[in-house]
Amino acid sequence: MAILVIAEHDNQSLKAGTLNTVTAAGKVGGEVHLLVAGHNCGAVADAAKAVAGVAKVLVADSAQYAHGLAENLAALVVDLAKNYSHVLSPAGTSGKNFLPRVAALLDVAQISDIVAVESADTFVRPVYAGNVLATVQSVDSIKVITVRTTAFEAAALGGSANVDSIGAAAEAQLSSFISQELTKSDRPELGAAKVIVSGGRALGSEEQFKAIIEPLADKLGAAVGASRAAVDAGYAPNDYQVGQTGKVVAPQLYVAVGISGAIQHLAGMKDSKVIVAINKDEEAPIFQVADYGIVGDLFTVVPELIQALGNN
């Protein structure tokens, strides 16, 4: 049977996590179809058909899918799912929102946040903030899965899948979109960045967070992240949060500035290739996972680091 992957997008561009999810689908084995449900989303469909390993792109273009409302999206996917053995979505806030709805309506379990595919019915997923890895086997006829995108490589581009237009499902009429406030940034997307600079509560204020973290991120071409404590204190917006219940990242280089390293934060970044910690507390737990640590006052060390990077 074929596998259905639900593309994550904003009607203009295909989100990077979709490529990693296609790779996970490929490991299950079977023909991979990619669903683009949106409104005026032709550019996304064009990007989707170029993803290597995708046999067919299904496009549902309708005003009711413009903002990815879970109730409407789930109804569409439930109708399609009966023709598939697996339904996969990236484990971003979109997939986490609509996919459990799909699973419940199909009367099947969802397997959340998988990090490995053992076989067509057996998967590995983290529990307890990533301190435990559980290998689980599904007994359901359709496997509904969200994918931790950092655990899989991105699929290559260069494919040329067929594109089929499909009709919309009946609108659920349970919810409507009111507004959005998106964080504007020219920096790379947190989930896909090669380098991330994250700040913690030790930054002390929103102004200092910006004044210290942003120049270092600019110097490194990095995305900016934050600990829960920094977000709760209002130093950084919510979508910067890295951790168990925020974003899970795995960049080549993660620089933790003034972050003590609670297990909930480590859950979101400990798969980074190289971790650097800057903290004045020598005993901070972050040093137990850091490859390189500097014990010192971040307000001195970070400007020195920016200067040292400038000399290279």
Binding site: A70, E71, T93, K96, N97, L99, P100, R101, A103, A104, D107, Q110, I111, S112, V127, Y128, A129, G130, N131, V132, L133, A134, T135, S138, V139, A172, Q173, L174, S175, F177, I178, S179, Q180, L182, T183, G191, V231, D232, D239, Q244, T245, K247, L253, I263, K273, I275, V276, F287, A290, D291, Y292, G293, I294, V301, E304, L305, A308, L309, N311, N312
Partner: protein, 249 residues
């Protein structure tokens, strides 16, 4: 308006769990258990809605072993009016929980159901969405603001790019994110008063729900440990290491 709040008993967030030596599960004997932190936020939100005069009754519900009573007493001490315990020793996975909550909702007829967005033990992030689907209700997940009116609720949601606000027709399901509120500290008199509040018992059988697990856990293991690296003296040394040793610059 009645609000139903679901609360789960989980290993306390400060406990670092250990895998059993035979790899069959996680050792939770003799570890501290608490209310799931996101569910505390859910109870707090429901109680604040009552204090604001928008809600007339807050009913807390928990599913699972006998000791869930303690979790429900905490919810009552925070300000819930009464509690329902669906007592069972069976393993309950999110789909089964959603079916049980649906059955409870059909008896109680709430206009709003508030749940934590995820439990910090299985990290599934499914139950609220599933119960909304089964009831045919709208859902406002990962809420950082809830604005309740007579027939609708506006929910501001924490999403990957920032914030998004949706309007839901009531009845509806809301799941809480971290920034929705800061749960109150429960004082001793409230704990004493909570002991007198009603706590009703229900069974899985009486609710007529098949809770058979759909996922079989074959094994659990600890992930590969990261070993601590080295401390460097200054920024210049760090840059040299990142460049020449780690080769990430």
């Amino acid at each position: 308006m009645k609000v139903l709040v679901a609360v789960k008993r989980v290993v306390d967030y400060n406990v670092k769990v250990r895998v059993k030596a035979d790899g069959t599960g996680v050792d939770i004997a003799n570890v501290k258990m608490s209310m799931n932190p996101f569910d505390e936020i859910a109870v707090e939100e429901a109680v604040r809605l009552k204090e604001a005069g928008k809600v007339s009754e807050v009913v807390a519900v928990s599913l699972g072993v006998k000791q869930c009573e303690e979790t429900l007493r905490t919810a009552l001490a925070m300000g819930a009016d009464r509690a329902i315990h669906v007592e069972t020793d069976a393993e309950l996975q999110p789909l089964a929980v959603a079916k049980l909550l649906k059955a409870v909702a059909e008896k109680e007829q709430p206009q709003l159901m508030i749940l934590g967005k995820q439990a910090i033990d299985d990290d599934a992030n499914q139950t609220g969405q599933m119960v909304a689907a089964l009831l045919g209700w709208g859902q406002g997940t990962f809420a950082s603001k809830v604005d309740l009116a007579a027939e609708t609720v506006d929910v501001t949601r924490e999403v990957d790019g920032g914030l998004e606000t949706v309007k839901l027709r009531l009845p509806a399901v809301v799941t809480t994110d971290l920034r929705l509120n800061e749960p109150r500290y429960v004082k001793l008199p409230n704990i004493m008063a909570a002991k007198k509040k009603p706590l009703d018992k229900l069974t899985v059988e009486a609710l007529g729900v098949d809770v058979t697990p759909r996922l079989k856990t074959l094994k659990v293991a600890e992930p590969a440990k990261r070993s601590a690296g080295i401390k460097v003296a200054n920024a210049a040394e760090l840059v040299a290491k990142l460049k020449n040793e780690a080769k990430v610059l």
